[in-house]
């Protein structure tokens, strides 16, 4: 009898996605870390019992291991916001999860018409000024006008980008993006509203300026920050919204924050860049913002909170059309709905009993996350 193929890469991706070390997984399935390492990297096959145990622990079907994982996401493909301060195991966990998100999105695309990918390329970028110009051109490219953008997430999703927070991992790695055929942005949804908007615009900056460029260095990060700042708050608007005077106008700064959804600190930085406040006012402003009990977070709740919708709406449509089977996407991927829910921020939706129709539900091993 032919035994099914076994792909070590698939095991590695499933394990890293679950955030379990070789040692821990070995203890759970009753084998050694060395043997698991060999399964992942060498041409070895586990016994049927071990295969079942692995599938049980990792929340995937045994069939998941018999399919090639495909084109795994590499560290260098990702634009990590704070790569230098992220532990390597978090980076690997993150890239493993993004690999699966790519597979999920690809599977969704087999049933759904997703927005066509349409991101301009303004690279290569050399200076901060280039980044500011790219932000302006980006607004023009998508016909966004000059006003405050209500939802940066929608702009990105309209252009075919996918946004998720990958569960709790984003808290460790901050924000990042991966530029494949369909770009994916990972956000830390715990952040406050202005910061979340800035992160999305920052990652958008990487997408339109740094295609094929390894980012993470000071220059590329500063360019992406510059892009984000000018994309969210164009220079013309800055110049007409603030009147220079002998004192810093906190009232104007607060109004700008609420209207344009950008943090006070970012506004103060732009005011200095545009020479609308003096170096001494800039210093005073930063001291005020840094003071304990400063009101820099004031009005955060008045800034519209960014809410990615593409993945949620996709699953919702599959649920409405196919009931709780969601068109068989879980079986096709061989990944439990719990894990897919975590990776796509749709756990509540996928586990909701409203989909429990009388269609076939294939049971999954109990969940490990």
């Amino acid at each position: 009898m032919n035994t099914p193929e076994f792909f070590g890469d698939s095991l590695r991706i499933a394990r890293l996605t679950s955030g379990i070390s070789l040692q821990e997984l070995g203890e759970r399935v009753g084998t050694t870390r060395q043997y698991l390492s060999q399964l992942e990297t060498a041409d070895k096959k586990p016994s049927a019992d071990l295969l079942d145990a692995l599938s049980f622990e990792l929340g995937v079907t045994p069939g998941f291991f018999s399919r090639a994982i495909g084109n795994t996401v590499k560290d260098e493909e990702c634009h990590f916001r704070k790569l230098s301060s992220v532990p390597m195991y978090s980076v690997r966990e993150c890239t493993a999860r993004i690999t699966l998100v790519h597979k999920i999105v690809d599977a969704l695309g087999q049933h759904l018409e997703l927005p066509q990918v349409n991101f301009p390329d303004f690279g290569p970028i050399e200076t901060s000024l280039d980044a500011a110009i790219a932000a302006k051109r980006c607004r023009e490219y998508w016909g966004l006008g000059k006003g405050p953008i209500e939802s940066v997430a929608r702009v990105i999703e309209h252009a075919g980008g996918v946004i998720t927070s990958l569960g709790d991992i984003s808290e460790k790695v901050d924000a990042l993006s991966v530029h494949r055929e369909r770009p994916i942005i990972v956000i830390n949804s715990k952040k406050n509203s202005p910061r979340l908007r800035f992160d999305l615009a920052h990652e958008l900056g990487h997408m339109v300026m740094h295609k094929g460029v390894e980012s993470g260095c000071r220059d590329t990060e500063s360019q992406a920050d510059q892009f984000a700042s000018y994309f969210l708050f164009p220079q013309e608007a800055l110049l007409t919204s603030y009147r220079p005077s002998s004192r810093i106008s906190w009232q104007s700064i607060k109004q700008i924050k609420v209207k344009w959804g950008i943090s006070m600190r970012a506004i103060v930085f732009r005011l200095r860049q545009a020479n609308l406040i003096t170096p001494s006012q800039y210093r005073t402003a930063n001291i005020t913002l840094s003071k304990k009990g400063s009101r820099s977070e004031e009005f955060d709740d008045l800034v519209i909170r960014e809410k990615p919708e593409l993945l949620r709406n996709s699953f919702e449509l599959l649920g409405e059309t196919f009931g709780s089977s969601f068109g068989g996407i879980f079986e096709r991927l061989g990944i439990s709905r719990q894990i897919i829910g975590t990776l796509t921020d749709t756990s509540d939706l996928l586990m909701n009993t409203q989909w429990e129709t009388n269609d076939n539900i294939v049971a999954f091993p109990s969940q490990v996350t």
Binding site: F7, G8, D9, R12, L16, S21, L22, E40, T41, A68, I69, G70, N71, T72, K74, M88, Y89, R92, H102, K103, D106, G109, Q110, H111, L112, E113, P115, G145, G147, P148, I149, E150, S151, R154, E157, H158, A237, T240, S241, R243, S245, S246, R247, I248, S249, W250, Q251, K254, Q255, K259, T288, R295, F299, L302, E309, L310, N313, S314, L317, T321
Partner: protein, 214 residues
């Protein structure tokens, strides 16, 4: 600390906050329009004049029948529900003496059992006290009942943090918000075949997987 409405039922929190909003708006507008030659004194004077005018304007609008002007001169005293109210910039620890001199007798205080050690119940004046920061921004706005010897006997903190004056109209006209609907997703009429992404390449299989530590 007593709430103003506990001593005088006409001084409701809603009325106090409504007038407070007018005062903060007027002050913020002055701060927004500060010129390079302004200083603390000139801004303070303008703020006082603008706040007075704002209240007068509100009275003229007829929108608040419980609001009226008692003295429209620079002393500026208005009334909330018939009770005289003043305003000053500063904190309640150091109330302006000229405000205290306006205190009038308040027999209602007897029922609270305050000042039992005194032979006569002190006079009371009601006032807004606006505290500002180094940038001229409003830090707090309190509505207080002060005795004629400067003691605060009732207080309402007006929630200034929730107040933000609207941007000027020219600004709004020029920069309309960009609002997009959610990106559209629909069911494919014919399911798309799997992409090559599902196929493993030799290169991927050979990629280094050195993460044995985790």
């Amino acid at each position: 600390m007593l709430q103003p409405f506990e001593i005088n039922e006409k001084l409701t929190n809603e009325r106090i906050d409504t007038v407070g909003q007018l005062l903060v708006e007027a002050h913020n507008e002055v701060i927004d329009k500060e010129e390079i030659y302004d200083n603390g004194w000139s801004t303070g004077c303008r703020s006082y004049a603008w706040r007075s005018s704002k209240v007068s304007q509100a009275v003229d609008s007829g929108e608040f029948p419980w609001l009226s002007i008692i003295d429209g001169s620079l002393r500026f005293i208005f009334s909330i529900g018939g009770t005289p109210v003043s305003m000053f910039r500063g904190n309640t620890d150091k109330p302006k003496q000229n405000i205290l001199s306006r205190a009038t007798s308040y027999p209602e205080l007897r029922q609270f059992g305050l000042f039992t050690e005194l032979e006569d119940i002190p006079n009371v004046v009601w006032s807004y006290a606006m505290e500002t920061g180094p940038g001229g921004e409003v830090l707090s706005l309190q509505f207080v009942g002060l005795t004629d010897f400067g003691e605060v006997i009732a207080q309402r903190d007006v929630p200034v943090d929730e107040m933000l004056t609207p941007l000027s109209s020219i600004y709004d006209e020029e920069y309309k918000p960009v609002s997009l609907p959610a990106a559209s997703v629909s069911i494919r009429q014919t399911p798309r075949p799997k992409t090559g992404n599902d196929e493993e390449t030799e290169e991927n299989r050979m990629a280094g997987n050195d993460d044995s530590g985790r």
